[in-house]
Each structure stands twice: as C-alpha cells, then as structure tokens.
Symmetry: C2
Subunit: 133 residues, 2 copies
C-alpha cells in the first residue's frame, strides 16, 4: 500500500489547528533543537500556550523563531494530516489579553503555575494530508 | 482537574519508542527551526527513518543535531507520555545496513522514492508521563 501527500489549503490548516488542543513546539535552544508537547488554544488566529517561566521551555522559547506542529496520523490506514505554524514566540504582556487567556485560553494539564502565556506570531501556516492509496 | 508530570526511566522510554511508528523530527535548518512527522523504526537501539534526498528534510537534516519526539497524549483524560531522543542525524551508508533497513526498516507511507536512510545517533533519551489527577 502506498499513500500520497497533498498540500492543504490555508483554510483547511486553520480548521485543523482550531480543532485540536495538543501540539509540539520546536525551537533552536542553546543546546540545539528542542521539542516540547504543549496544550494550546487558537486566539485571534494565533497559537497560544502557557508554560512555567522557570523551565527550559519557558526560559528559552520567548523571542525565538519556532515551528509548531499539530497532526493526526494513523499508522493502520497510513493516512492523516500534519499542520506546521512557523513564527516567533512572543510573551503576552497586555493585561487584558493575559486575563482573558488565563481564563479562557489553553488550560495547562499539569499542576503548578504556568503563568507565562506565549503567542506564536505566525509567519506561515502549511499543512499536508496523506491518504492511504 | 490537574495532572502531574513524572520522569520516565530509560527502559520505559525505550519501550515507548519501540511500540510506536510515527514521530516528529525537529532540527535547526537554514530558515530556522523545522519539524516534520516521519514514520520510523528502532534499529539496534537507534531511531531510523527514510526520506527523499531532494526534499527540505532530506537536504538539511543529515549532519544536524536533531530532537525526535514521540508521544501519545489524550486531551480527554489529560494523560499520556512523551519521549524525546536528542542526537545527530547521520546518513546510513553501509551497504548491508541499507539493504536490511530498506527491506525490514521503516516503510515510508507516501509514494515515491525515499532512498535516504537516516539514523539518529542518540546522545540522550528522556521521557515524561502526565497523568490526570
């Protein structure tokens, strides 16, 4: 069985992003490439997630170019999709935005304070579908 | 509901890696951080995947430090796990290894030639479990 890749439209990518809650953020840290799964939300078109400020992710990601990936890939049928957002991670510091996002935005799974709210200012969104043939 | 993170042992990480077939490889490319989902296999303890040589991934990943992530995260129960392999991507060029891996190694999903076989020479494997509390 072979599968085929198809580019997704921007609209399809946005719909997939809005329909998921877990992605992986990758960036180039001091010790090389880093990748972390995060719980996220889409706010005003941008991916937003919360991190603890004093973690490797929290300390290194802000100000960095990032690639953020969401997918749903099924090994059985060899089909699924993957969307990648490329942009820059910026700390949300507007008080109104912070209040709103801490109340209605991405809720972190793990216990502990995750007070740093990070927005990916998107430069590009691309996606590919792969379907079993 | 809150969840808690727990570090996984090396043995647990290896078991999770061996039990999955889809991961995401991240590296620092010429245009910044890149992340690609790939179908993989574990060969002699290393993550191995196949790519087409004349793609962005194929042209940039070899020789690069990479972070490779596999996870299974369930938003409903807010539980799951994530394993990250950090190492260097090297092209497999030993003829016997190539023959073996092309026959029994990771089978790429999509049609087309994916003749480049890449091994992640692992520097470290870490993992975390998150369980809904």
């Amino acid at each position: 069985m072979t599968s085929a890749f198809l580019d997704m439209t921007a609209q399809e990518c946005r719909a997939r992003l809005a329909g998921s809650t877990v992605g992986r953020v990758a960036f180039c840290g001091r010790r090389g490439p880093q990748i972390y799964p995060v719980n996220y939300a889409v706010d005003d078109g941008d991916v937003v997630f919360r991190v603890a400020p004093y973690t490797n992710l929290g300390m290194e990601v802000v100000g960095s170019p990032v690639a953020f990936e969401v997918d749903d890939l099924d090994p059985e049928s060899r089909s699924g999709w993957s969307v990648v957002v490329s942009g820059t991670a910026v700390a949300v510091d507007d008080p109104d935005d912070l209040t709103r996002l801490r109340r209605r935005g991405p809720e972190p799974w793990a216990q502990g304070q995750r007070q740093l709210v990070v927005r990916i200012a998107s430069a590009s969104v691309t996606g590919r579908q792969v379907s079993g043939g």
